[in-house]
Amino acid sequence: MEKVLMKGNEAIAEAAIMAGCRHFFGYPITPQTEVAAYMSKRLPKIGGVYLQAESEISSINMILGAASAGVRAMTSSSSPGISLMSEGISYMAACDLPSVIVNIQRGGPGLGGIQPSQADYWQATRSSGHGDFHIIALAPNSIQEIVDLTQRAFDLADTYRMPVIILGDGILGQMMEPVELRPNISANPPEKTWAANGTGGKRKKNIINSLYLKPDQLEQINFERFKRYKLVEKKEALHEAYLTDDADIILVAYGATSRICRNAITQARANGVKAGLLRPITLWPFPVQAIKQTMQRAKAFICVEMSMGQMIDDVKLAIECERPVAFLGRTGGMVHTPEEILAKIEAVDRGETA
């Protein structure tokens, strides 16, 4: 298949279209605007709907409406916009609605900046809204993986009836790489018998709702939903292991940061330090088993994030704190250099794990 050059943001949009998404609702924000621009150009030509909402609050609720009606719908934004969507994400999780949400993260908190960041890890994996719920969080690190995972996101959302967030950053959104636009979707997505798309006089009405005033009833519904989450945790965790088999030091990084780690690992190995990379591809579910396995040999871990340290909690939980976990973070839109990661690897190799 011929490779074409695409920006990450455009690849997300094209992959969504390949997955059958014909409904996009969004609001402009840097650095994800190309997703919306691409959709506004393409969707009207293929019988789809692109609509610019009055706010992210509205765009997420438009997704909720479209998803309720049974179609594949998507929105995209960047960090401050995702905060505004929290309410809608919680409602969608509570209504068991599939949807795909893209967050091309920028530096925060507050208005922050527009340069790359990974500071919304907690938001995506812990607290994307109020209440007891999870959403699936996917973290591609190349444009090809964006194409593959964005399509997969729609299948996951439909299969488990839950929102899926694609967590990118300004680097991935803006960079271009060659990609194969290869299909990666299920031929038989589940039928949406629950959709509110008109009874047609042929069935009992469907209700999409998250209100349960009886606490025992609400508890049961949450129990049931968490059984589904257990299944997701068991079946859907994804990771990539790079040179981990003989590694003394395991770097854990995702997204664009993982690519910079690879450069540092190459240099470290040239200097005689056996370093490897464990890259979570799903942030929720977190690839706990894969990380645990690397612990057999590794003497220490280094978590590298464009944040003040968020995923490091999950790394420590995964290995139950049985090895030291060092941290190297940049924040506010600053990006690691391979050299500073190399310096950290060498320091940890010397036993400086603080």
Binding site: I171, M175, M176
Partner: protein, 179 residues
């Protein structure tokens, strides 16, 4: 060396990002691994613009060009900013009609092309970027001369024939430029 890091820098509006895209396609046609990463944000809108291009025989890790092996600069502030970052023995291509000074570092090799002036004189105003790229290809062999048209076809849509022709003319002008 299996990986070449290239930085193209200048003012917004000079076609910096476009020039980078052309190089990426040139690499892609040659079966190389490639990446392209622009600076983005307010600077896109009139200030400085730059993009990092990596052409490699092996999979590309970081797409960020921090130490360019090759630098193409089209305004004075970009030379000030990026000359110190260049890798040792790096190669620098300078639009000498807009940048009056020469390279400060003795390990770097410089090519001085009055691209903006040449573009104006040849009715190719706005295509100084491609004149620079023509010279760049000639001196670096980043792709063969014969690949230029194929790469350009990828960068400029076929239906914009006039644009394609003028870009090709600019590339040839740069390729054949002798100081």
């Amino acid at each position: 060396m299996s990986e070449t890091n290239i930085l193209v820098a200048g003012f917004g509006g000079q076609g910096i990002l476009f020039a980078g895209k052309f190089l990426v396609y040139a690499g892609l046609i040659n079966g190389k691994q490639v990446s392209w990463l622009p600076s983005y944000g307010p600077e896109m809108r009139g200030g400085t613009a730059s993009c990092g291009v990596i052409i490699s025989d092996t999979p590309i890790g970081s797409p960020i060009v921090t130490q360019p092996d090759m630098l193409i600069v089209m305004n004075a502030p970009s030379l000030e900013r990026y000359e110190p970052d260049c890798a040792r023995n790096g190669r620098v291509f300078i639009d000498s009609s807009l940048i009056t000074r020469e390279l400060g570092r003795s390990d770097l090799t410089g090519w001085y092309v009055p691209a903006a002036k040449m573009a104006d004189e040849n009715g190719l105003t706005g295509l100084a970027n491609m004149i620079m790229i023509g010279k760049f290809i000639k001196e670096t062999n980043i792709c063969a001369y014969n690949d230029i048209e194929a790469a350009l076809k990828k960068t400029v849509p076929e239906r914009r024939r006039a644009l394609y022709d003028s870009n090709l003319e600019a590339l040839n002008l740069g390729y054949n430029y002798r100081r």
